[in-house]
């Protein structure tokens, strides 16, 4: 596992390097924006930890350039600028997570692991169901050519239903899959999730088959 850490504050950088090495990563450190962009563009990483306030080239620009070059590795932003405008800008520039400084190193490591697991666990492939395309690597979707950002839960819902080959999946089964066996009875959240997905994608994407459950419609909108 290779991680790229971009951080100009020496003490924080040291700490990040040590913590990620301890977590089993091979770590590269970049101390300014130019260097970071160059490394990220030329080498393959499993994850990048990106500070925003950097010398030479700011973190957000680095991230935008990577994404423009189709560098798709997960990026977690770690920044002292902790307001929501910055967070939204970071996520919209293509970051996968955002952590404000100062942070708990354990939380950072957990989030990095989560990102790597989600991105690395699957081959970079896509599943097509009618107008809906699931990108299993980026955990995102496009519907009728329009990119849609999905939460982990939403992605897992679509991913699970898409793999049932047209079979209707009951809310209980979905709850068991998504939340674990002991909470299979809790289907309110599943109904809410379906409402949310229909709004994000299109109302007809998820069909309700009365008495059976949900399935993804194969036909074009």
């Amino acid at each position: 596992m290779r991680a790229l850490i971009i951080e100009d504050e020496a003490a924080v950088a040291d700490d990040l390097v040590r913590a990620l090495q301890a977590a089993g990563f091979v770590v590269d450190l970049a101390r300014d924006g130019d260097n970071a962009w160059f490394r990220g563009s030329t080498e393959d990483y499993d994850v990048a930890i990106l500070d925003l306030g950097l010398p030479r080239l700011d973190g957000l620009s680095v991230l935008r350039r990577w994404r423009a070059d189709n560098r798709a590795f997960p990026v977690i932003i770690v920044s002292a600028r902790n307001d929501w405008t910055e967070k939204v800008a970071g996520i919209e520039a293509g970051a996968d997570d955002y952590l404000g400084k100062p942070f708990e190193i354990a939380e950072l490591v957990a989030r990095v692991r989560g990102l790597v697991r989600r991105a690395g666990g699957r081959a970079s492939s896509s599943i097509r169901m009618g107008s809906l395309v699931l990108d299993t690597h980026r955990m995102s979707a496009t519907y009728a050519g329009r990119p849609v950002r999905l939460s982990q839960l939403e992605f897992r819902f679509l991913h699970y239903v898409a793999h049932q080959g047209g079979r209707a999946v009951s809310a209980g089964e979905l709850a068991e899959h998504l939340y674990g066996a002991e909470e299979a009875g809790d289907t309110n959240a599943i109904e809410a999730l379906v409402v949310r997905l229909r709004r994000k994608l299109a109302p007809q994407v998820i069909e309700t088959r009365r008495g059976f459950g949900y399935c993804i419609a194969g036909d074009s909108p």
């Binding site: 504050e9 003490a11 919209e92 989030r111 939460s151």
Partner: protein, 447 residues
């Protein structure tokens, strides 16, 4: 001692000045009246005197003789108050009204004109007496002609006039004092208006005193507004410094946290725990301070703002969904696309962010973001299906945020920040039990 009130001071001086002027007027007018009456009486007496002189002749022994006595009936009525007397060295003639009395001979130098005196007369009377010496015959003796009238009725007239005039002048004094009061009130009115506006200025640093209602007050208004400008600039600078300081503290705090972990690895667990607690407290204080300075900025912002709730909700959900701890949460957004609230877009993001993050931290499965327009106003709420807060505890939650600076991070901080922000935008924020089972935080912008 000088009275503190400008109104009282002006009024006292005005009434005193008016009083002095009117008293002087009373004095002068009664004097003028007196002289006028005396002159009239004097003229009447002189005419009678001239009649006496015209009818006067000298007898063979040098005694005075009158060919005809003055016609006025009062001369023939005893003690009537009107008297005459002509005297020569050889004898005298007197009006009947003198009865057995006589008018005292003058002590004054004899002049060829009417001389006026106020002697004590017969019958206990004060007299107004005129007298003159004439010579009816070139070679004859001199004759003293005296004509007098009692002075009491004159004095009475004078007193009556004085009293009536005084009453009138007192009335005039009251009216003029009333006018002075009105004038003072009118004069001070612009100051009262400015005082109200200065009160507004106290509440908001962006208020200004509007144009001066009178030219004389313009310099004062200008000075107040300049002071307000200076205060606003100072406030903005102080706020910026506080925000910059708070931001600048974050990276060093992260560095100290890094050192803390070294310390922990070196085995000094207690010291590391202490460091962590201090860092958490400092971070909470920094976040709180940033939120406060943002709230202050919102209050200071002058322009009308408006932002759509739905995109803010979706943006915030887009960020929160990234976090590992929300991997099992569904975020339901039920906000009409045309719902706008009177908040700047970035401030709405902060408010929404604080609420949604707080809800996500405690939710089990679901977070509901709801927005609507009601008869009361525009409302926005965030609810979760977490454990919620006991109704008895709800009022304490917002204050708990204030104490978090010491206790270090947690539940109340997000709510305290949200409360600061919401109230800065003129909204009300309240807590309730959610229909999902957890906490519902509702923000209402009244119409």
């Amino acid at each position: 001692m000088k009275p503190r009130s400008l109104r009282v001071r002006l009024l006292l001086s005005a009434t005193a000045a008016i009083f002095v002027a009117l008293a002087f007027a009373w004095f002068v007018m009664t004097k003028l009246f007196e002289r006028h009456i005396e002159r009239r009486v004097h003229a009447d007496l002189a005419r009678e005197g001239m009649q006496l002189a015209a009818n006067l002749s000298i007898g063979p022994r040098g005694e005075p003789r009158l060919s005809r006595e003055p016609g006025d009936v009062r001369f023939s009525e005893p003690a009537s108050g009107m008297y005459w007397q002509v005297t020569t060295s050889a004898g005298d003639l007197r009006s009947r009204s003198l009865w057995d009395q006589s008018l005292a001979a003058t002590q004054l130098p004899r002049k060829p004109e009417w001389n006026t005196r106020f002697p004590q007369g017969p019958f206990e009377e004060q007299l107004l007496l005129i007298e003159r010496e004439v010579k009816p015959d070139r070679d004859g003796p001199e004759v003293l002609i005296q004509v007098a009238t009692e002075n009491k009725s004159l004095q009475e007239a004078r007193r009556e006039f004085g009293a009536e005039l005084a009453m009138f002048l007192v009335l005039l004094w009251a009216i003029l004092s009333g006018a002075a009061w009105t004038q003072v009130a009118l004069g001070l009115k612009p100051l009262a208006r400015i005082r109200e506006q200065v009160n507004d200025l106290k509440r908001s640093s962006r208020e200004r005193v509007s144009d001066a209602p009178a030219r004389e007050i313009e310099p004062l208004v200008r000075a107040i507004n300049e002071l307000a400008d200076a205060r606003e600039v100072d406030l903005a600078r102080a706020r910026r410094r506080a925000a910059n300081l708070a931001h600048a503290l974050k990276t060093p705090l992260a560095a100290i946290a890094a050192q803390g972990r070294r310390v922990r690895e070196a085995g000094a667990t207690d010291a590391a725990d202490g460091l962590d607690r201090s860092i958490a407290a400092a971070s909470a204080a920094v976040d709180r301070e940033l939120a406060r300075s943002r709230a202050a900025e919102i209050r200071a912002a002058a322009t009308e703002v408006s932002a759509a709730v739905l995109p803010a909700a979706e943006s915030v959900v887009g960020v929160v969904e990234r976090a590992e701890f929300v991997a099992k949460l569904v975020f339901e957004v039920e906000v009409p696309p045309d719902l706008f609230v009177p908040v700047a877009a970035e401030d709405l993001l902060e408010l929404m962010g604080a609420l949604v993050e707080n809800a996500a931290r405690y939710a089990r499965r679901r977070v509901l973001i709801f927005g609507d327009r009601t008869a009361e106003g525009r409302t926005m709420s965030v609810e979760d299906d977490g454990p919620g807060i006991e109704p008895t505890q709800m009022s304490a939650v917002f204050e708990r945020g204030a104490r978090l600076d010491e206790s270090g991070g947690g539940h109340g901080l997000g709510l305290a920040i949200a409360k600061d922000l919401a109230e800065a935008t003129g909204a009300e924020i309240c807590l309730a039990r959610s229909k999902l089972g957890g906490l519902k935080v509702a923000v209402l912008w009244r119409n």
